[in-house]
Assembly symmetry: C2
Homo-oligomer: 248 residues x 2
Amino acid sequence: MYVKSLLITGANRGIGLEFVKQFLKLPQSPQWVFAACRNPEKATDLKTLGETYPNLRIKQLEVTDRESIKDLVTSVTSDLGEEGLTLLINNAGCLKRLQLNDVTQEEMLESFQINSVAPLCISQAFVPVLKKSSLQSPGDGGYGYRAAIVNISTLTASITDNVTGGNYDSRTSKAALNMISKSLSVDLKPGRILVSILDPGWVKTELGGAGAKMEVSDSVARMIKVIQGLTMDKTGTFLNYDGKTLPW
Amino acid sequence: MYVKSLLITGANRGIGLEFVKQFLKLPQSPQWVFAACRNPEKATDLKTLGETYPNLRIKQLEVTDRESIKDLVTSVTSDLGEEGLTLLINNAGCLKRLQLNDVTQEEMLESFQINSVAPLCISQAFVPVLKKSSLQSPGDGGYGYRAAIVNISTLTASITDNVTGGNYDSRTSKAALNMISKSLSVDLKPGRILVSILDPGWVKTELGGAGAKMEVSDSVARMIKVIQGLTMDKTGTFLNYDGKTLPW
C-alpha cells in the first residue's frame, strides 16, 4: 500500500528515527511524515532531516499524557486538512529487563503505561483520523484497507517462545500490546483499518545493547517491505521483520 | 498433590470464597487455609466458616499495597512456624469490560495493577515461603514438585481465541498475567515450584454476570480436581476447569 501520510512515535532515535529516514527516502515517499518525540528541541537528527525534507513535520508528544495526545491529534489533523492519516506506527517503548528479584509495582506499571496503554490511547485518539483516510479512498488497490496501525512489539512477547523466563516488564507489557492489537484489529475491521504487530528482531540500538545481531537500517528496510505488502487478511497477526507469522 | 497449606486472595466472595469452602470440606483438608481479602471485618461468610473450621485463617490484604503484602508474608509465616506454604492461588481480580471508546489510561492501569502486577508481586513475596515447603519435603509423591502457584486467568485472555475484540482491560491484563505465569514457571522450576494458569469458565458470580453458564461450585470443584492432579510437566501451561490446555 502507498503510505500517503505517516505518524510515528519515539521518532528521535533508534528504530523510530530510521523509519523516518527510510520513509522520506522512498521513491514514492509520503506527503507527510509526522515524527513524534518527547523533546523536539533536542531531536537534532530529526531537525537536520527537516532541512532537506519539507514533508517531515516534527511533533511534540508525551505518550503517557492524555492532553499531549489530544494536542497531537489537533496538530496533525490541522496539517492534513481534508485528508486522513494513512499509517500510525506506535514505536515508542521502554525496556528495563527486570528479573524476578528486581520487580517492583512502580517499574511494572511504568512499563505497562508506556508499552501497552499509551499505544492503545494513541490508537483510540487517531481512529477518527485513520477512518477519514479509509473512507475517503475510492479503491483500496487490492489490499483491502486504506489505513493502518502498526504496533512495534518483540519476539520476547511471544508466550509460546518464552523458554528462558525473566524479563517481566518487557515480555508482559508487550504481550499485553499484542492482545490490544488483536482486539483493535477486530474492532477496526469494519472501518477497513488494518492492525499489524511487528517484531523488529534483535537490533543494534541503544535498547538492543551490545549483543544485537542486526543493523537498524536492515531491520527497518525489511519492516517497510512487510508493511508495504500487508493485505487485510493479515490484520491482527504478529509478524517478524521478514513477514513470518510469530506464535502468540 | 496433597495441599497442606493454602493461601488464596480475593477470598471473601465468588470463586475465592468457594475455593475456601471446598478446600475446607475435602476429606484430607489443608492444615491451614489462609483466606486473604481487603476487608476481613466485613467478610461475614468467611467469619461464619471460621466458627466451624479452626484451620481457616482470615487475613487482611490490599493486593496493590506493597506494605500490606509484606505484612501478609509475616503473618502467614508466623502461623506456619517451621512449615512452608504449599499452594498460593492468585484469585483476586477486577473486570470492567472496557470497549475501545471507554478506554482511559487510568482504568487500564488499574486493571494492570490488580490483574497483572499484584499477582506478580504477591508471588515474588511468597517465593521464599513456597521454597521452604518445596525443599523441606523429602519426596514429591511423583508429582515433581511440592509447592505451587495457581493464577486465575480467563479464556478471554487467549489472543488466539480473541475473535470478538473489545474488552480491553480484562483481555490484556490477563494476557499479561499469562505471560507473567510463564516467566514464573521457568524461573521457579529449579526450586521445584509449579506454576499453573486456570480458566474457571463462565461462572455465575457477581463478575460473571447474568449470562453465565456454570455454577461457581461446579467450576471450583473441577478446578480443585485439576490442581490435585497437576504434575511438573504441566508447569507454565494454561488450562481450563477440565484440565484442557488452552492456546495463548
